[in-house]
């Protein structure tokens, strides 16, 4: 038992110490130098506010609403982006048709779509999901496309001489698994971008819940300690999603890769 602790300290001691130091420093600066809860709420303030939103249950609705928006956007981005990327990567003609359209739409920042999202979908969850989708779909398309482009010809030819000759079979059995690391990287980027779009998408008030919405709302009430609670939550959940996704991939789908994934 003692040894276990010693081991843990040796392995993660410095990291833990660094976090602890920043918390202490934050508390001291807030208490002794700034002395203004609006400018910088202290660590203790934030912890207290956090326990309040947990007690009221607000935090759980907020998280689930945000995950709903995020889920709609990402789900659509995957089921639309991956097939488009595949078709573009495998068939030259499809690439020539889609490429100019994508190159024109892609540079438009996703948040610029908010007015249209509202006009088309109203103040609904779908509307927030749409903004997330616009942010997430391009990294998915582009990485899927790139993954398909870099499928080694040797694997395709090896498959052909083994009797795997139709486009469909080659895509399914050769190109897709071979491009999977790149597609997965695209999905990860998409999740990052989507998570960022989420806050803005919720700020325009599609519902009265959601992590992003609450940041704005508490800001109006000048409750900066709550703003900080929601900021930290966004960071933390974003981190967890990324971790879980990566874990899943490494364990399940990309076992065959030698090095570190991504």
């Amino acid at each position: 038992m003692y040894n276990r602790i010693k081991d843990a300290v040796r392995k993660k001691g410095l990291e833990a110490l660094s976090l602890l130091a920043i918390v202490v420093l934050w508390q001291l600066v807030a208490d002794l130098i700034i002395k203004n809860k609006l400018f910088l709420p202290s660590f203790v303030d934030v912890v207290l506010s956090f326990s309040k939103v947990v007690k009221s249950g607000a935090i759980f609705t907020d998280i689930s609403v945000s995950l709903l928006h995020f889920g709609i956007g990402l789900f659509l981005a995957f089921i639309i982006g991956i097939p488009i990327g595949i078709a573009m990567g495998w068939f030259k003609t499809v690439n020539r048709i889609f490429d100019p359209i994508i190159e024109i739409i892609r540079p438009i920042p996703p948040l610029a779509w908010i007015p249209f999202a509202i006009v088309w979908f109203g103040l609904t969850h779908q509307s927030a999901g749409f903004v997330v989708f616009v942010g997430a779909v391009f990294p998915v398309i582009i990485n899927t496309y790139a993954g398909f482009k870099s499928v080694s010809i040797i694997y395709v030819e090896a498959a052909k001489v083994l009797g795997c000759t139709s486009d469909r079979a080659l895509i399914r059995y050769v190109a897709l698994p071979s491009a999977l690391p790149s597609i997965a990287a695209g999905m990860r980027i998409a999740m990052g971008v989507g998570w960022m779009c989420l806050v803005a998408a919720e700020m325009f008030g599609v519902s009265t819940n959601g992590l992003g919405y609450k940041i704005w709302w508490h800001y109006y009430l000048h409750q900066m300690d709550f703003v900080l609670v929601y900021m930290l939550l966004l960071g933390f959940i974003g981190f967890l999603i990324d971790r879980a996704f990566r874990h899943y991939l490494d364990d399940r789908l990309l076992k065959w890769r030698t090095g570190v994934v991504m």
Binding site: I154, E157, V161, L162, G163, A169, Y173
Partner: protein, 252 residues
């Protein structure tokens, strides 16, 4: 039964500026059923190109290739190929790699795995069944590649310097194994090599090629009894003769 006929095959590549390179020039060749033929020649003489055309992966500029009287145009599992580079699917385990061919032929999953297991035993790698290719050495990978090519029961096995990247020891072992398999499975083998030793040890006939444009320079019958002794005087004489042929080729 499965006779391979190469008639007037030429292949010219054009680069982006339209400048042509003649990789193969008027190749004529007849290969008997169950024959073991080695191709040898300087780098760039079109050995890979010829094998790819026979596999159906490339189309000749002119001429045609018949297998049992049927013209070859597209790849199919009648002609297996072991590539110059490592070509195992890295995302599939060893057994799944070998089972791929049967599976593509429409064989049921369990049955394909059964077949795969049989061929894995044949190349002596039973215990690596569930390993991924990155976990295997170069020699093991080529063994698996051979097993994979054989699992579809091809009539012709095309091998493009399959042992080129291996050390001499491993190479010798694999040559032995290959001959055993060849005798057991009764396939026709077309084998490209850079090594005179290899050709003299393996082949019924050696096709010596010359470069730019790729042509057949000579075809040598190797009438040495099997199993062959690498150090026998007959082997040495033969080797020397072919080496002289090749040396003259290089001087040109």
């Amino acid at each position: 039964m499965s006779r391979l006929t190469v008639t007037n095959v030429s292949r010219t590549f054009k680069n982006e500026n339209g400048a042509p390179t003649s990789a193969l020039d008027n190749i004529n060749l007849e290969i008997k059923d169950k024959e073991f033929v080695c191709f040898i020649g300087p780098s760039g003489c079109g050995k890979t190109t010829l094998l790819r055309i026979i596999a159906g992966l490339d189309t000749p500029t002119s001429g045609d290739i018949l297998l049992d009287g049927t013209k070859i145009t597209v790849p199919d599992a009648k002609r297996g190929m072991v590539f110059q580079e490592y070509s195992l699917f890295p995302w599939r385990t060893v057994i799944e790699n070998i089972a791929f061919g049967p599976k593509m032929q429409g064989t049921k999953k369990e049955k394909s795995l059964k077949i795969a297991e049989k061929y894995l035993e044949l190349v002596g790698l039973g215990q690596f069944k569930n390993s991924y290719p990155y976990e295997l050495s170069g020699g093991m990978r080529q063994r698996v590649a051979i097993a994979r090519a054989l699992a579809t029961q091809p009539q012709v096995l095309l091998m493009d310097e399959p042992f080129g990247a291996l050390d001499a020891q491993t190479r010798n072992t694999l040559q032995h194994e290959l001959l055993e398999i060849w005798e057991k499975k009764n396939v026709t083998i077309l084998f490209v090599t850079h090594s005179m030793d290899e050709a003299v040890f393996l082949a019924d006939r050696i096709v010596v090629m010359s470069a730019r444009p790729g042509k057949i320079k000579d075809i040598i019958d190797v009438n040495l009894p099997r199993p062959r002794d690498r150090t026998a005087p007959e082997s040495n004489t033969l080797r020397n003769n072919v080496l002289k042929l090749l040396a003259r080729e290089r001087e040109k």
